[in-house]
């Protein structure tokens, strides 16, 4: 119980006739990175919304940091942060103003100091006083994640953190997520990219047609499927590898 950041049992949710979640079960250990994998429309965002108290489930139980999401939403909100699918930043404010705003809403004693620290941690100090509308997609996402770290929540939800980002920005986000976990933050992320889950996650759960059809470490998942065979294939570089080599960013991975 104490070692579990999230416990989900028999979670059900329907939108009118559409039965999206048909009894979802999983647990997420404290301090781990948990990836929820699934195709578009599989219900990943629905699960995130239920766990972050934005949506009420129709059936089953979900507890976050030991608090039931349906009966103790306010206690849940104290210890989590959500980085939604679409960058939840204020475009008209500057990066610094965005961070100060969140720090004030979290009633921290030194909002400016908190903002300065996060700006430098996320490499946004130079852009701090520019309006967010002038930021690139990657900078916006970094600011978005930085805003979620204000007040150092124990658990952070990242809903498709790299969708719509170019490969370079994607690597930046991966680096950030790894650093988060190293500092002891629990990360719950959803993705539709297999390599993203493979790169980041301690545990991977696959959501398909409303239930979790596989759940385990990468090694465990590999064991469930046909054993590896030795094949000789000419290794062609992927377009991503070519792209990154050309722009000279390959070594940053």
């Amino acid at each position: 119980m104490q070692n579990q950041a999230i416990q989900v049992k028999g979670l059900q949710k329907s939108y009118k006739d559409l039965h999206v979640l048909k009894g979802v079960d999983f647990v997420v250990g404290r301090g781990s990175i948990f990836a929820l994998l699934g195709t578009n429309g599989a219900g990943k965002t629905t699960i995130v919304k239920i766990l972050t108290t934005l949506l009420k489930q129709d059936g089953g139980n979900a507890a976050v940091n030991g608090f039931d999401v349906a009966s103790r939403p306010d206690s849940v909100r104290q210890s989590i942060s959500l980085t939604g699918q679409f960058a939840a930043v204020d475009e008209i404010l500057t990066g610094r103003e965005n961070l100060i705003m969140i720090a004030r809403l979290r009633h921290l004693t030194h909002p400016r100091q908190v903002a300065d620290n996060l700006l430098s941690r996320f490499g946004l100090t130079d852009a701090a006083d520019r309006r967010v509308s002038t930021y690139s997609g990657g900078m916006r996402r970094r600011l978005d994640i930085a805003m979620s770290l204000v007040g150092t929540p124990q658990l952070i939800f990242l809903d498709e953190p790299t969708s719509g980002l170019d490969p370079e920005a994607r690597l930046e986000v991966w680096k950030t997520v790894k650093e988060l976990a190293q500092n002891g933050t629990t990360v719950f992320l959803t993705t539709q990219y297999l390599d993203e889950a493979e790169q980041l996650a301690d545990r991977i759960a696959i959501l398909h047609e409303g239930t979790i059809i596989a759940n385990g470490t990468l090694a465990e998942l590999k064991k469930m499927f046909p054993p590896a065979r030795v094949e000789y294939v000419e290794k062609q570089p992927t377009l991503e590898e070519i792209f990154l080599a050309i722009i000279g960013k390959k070594e940053t991975k």
């Binding site: 108290t53 934005l54 104290q78 939604g84 939840a88 979290r106 009633h107």
Partner: protein
């Protein structure tokens, strides 16, 4: 719940600061809510005014209440717009997953509407003073005028909240305000209703703007307000309560 309640005021204050920055950084908003009404006032006083018979020698005095209402009606369209943008982007989801009162983001928008419309009203009154507006009203009358304008702003703001929450497109979020901006033209705001054809006159004399305009005009002129102020207050409060209840229902349904 406790932290969310104790910090409600300061949280709404943060939201107010955010939206006020939005307004001050949007030239479009400033032009529409302040400069346009002033342009109307200049146009009516210096171009049409000579041909309008109101039975008063100071047309600025006659005109000012209607101009203030037009400014408010165009100002609240931006409240709907800002609310719509917040719903579309992820920022409301972020706020709602934070330990703050669920309604704080919404009240931030309502308070912003009240504050920004008050500022533009003050600017318009100052310009009117330069144009020859004079008032013999005492402090109490001015307070009454401020109260009526605040109630009118709130009533329209809650209508704007309904529009902002339920609109499907940006254009839709603002379109509802056009009839509201037009209402003062079919009232006693610019010309006395006696000059209008019977059907138009009947509409003009029984719609909310006329009673509000008449009440403010009498208060500013230091004359007895009679029944108009009660009719005006009844309209404002009635619209306010109905729109508030509708808006809250939509907000609680849409924003989980």
């Amino acid at each position: 719940m406790d932290t969310a309640r104790t910090h409600f005021i300061s949280d709404v204050g943060v939201m107010l600061g955010r939206s006020m920055r939005h307004i001050l950084r949007s030239m479009d908003t400033i032009i529409t809510v302040t400069i346009m009404p002033i342009a109307f006032m200049l146009l009516f006083v210096y171009v049409f005014g000579g041909a309008i018979q109101t039975g008063t020698d100071n047309y600025v005095n006659y005109l000012l209440p209607g101009i203030l209402l037009i400014a408010i009606a165009s100002g609240i369209a931006y409240t709907a717009y800002r609310l719509f943008i917040d719903m579309q982007r992820g920022i409301f989801e972020r706020f709602h997953s934070m330990p703050i009162a669920h309604s704080a983001p919404l009240w931030g928008h309502v308070l912003t509407s009240l504050v920004s419309n008050a500022i533009s009203a003050v600017v318009i009154i100052l310009v009117a003073l330069l144009m020859g507006f004079r008032s013999s009203a005492g402090v109490l009358s001015w307070l009454a005028v401020a109260g009526i304008l605040a109630l009118f702003t709130l009533a329209l703001t809650w209508i704007a909240v309904i529009a902002g929450l339920s609109a499907k497109t940006v254009d839709g979020a603002g379109a509802f305000s056009y009839p509201l901006i037009f209402l003062p033209f079919i009232s006693s705001a610019f010309v006395p209703t006696e000059s209008m054809p019977p059907v138009v006159r009947a509409f003009a004399e029984n719609q909310p703007v006329t009673s509000i305009v008449e009440a403010i005009r009498s208060l500013l002129a230091g004359q007895p307000v009679g029944n108009d102020i009660w009719v005006a207050l009844a309209w404002c409060l009635g619209i306010l309560i109905v729109a508030y209840l509708f808006a809250m229902r939509i907000y609680n349904r849409k924003a989980a």
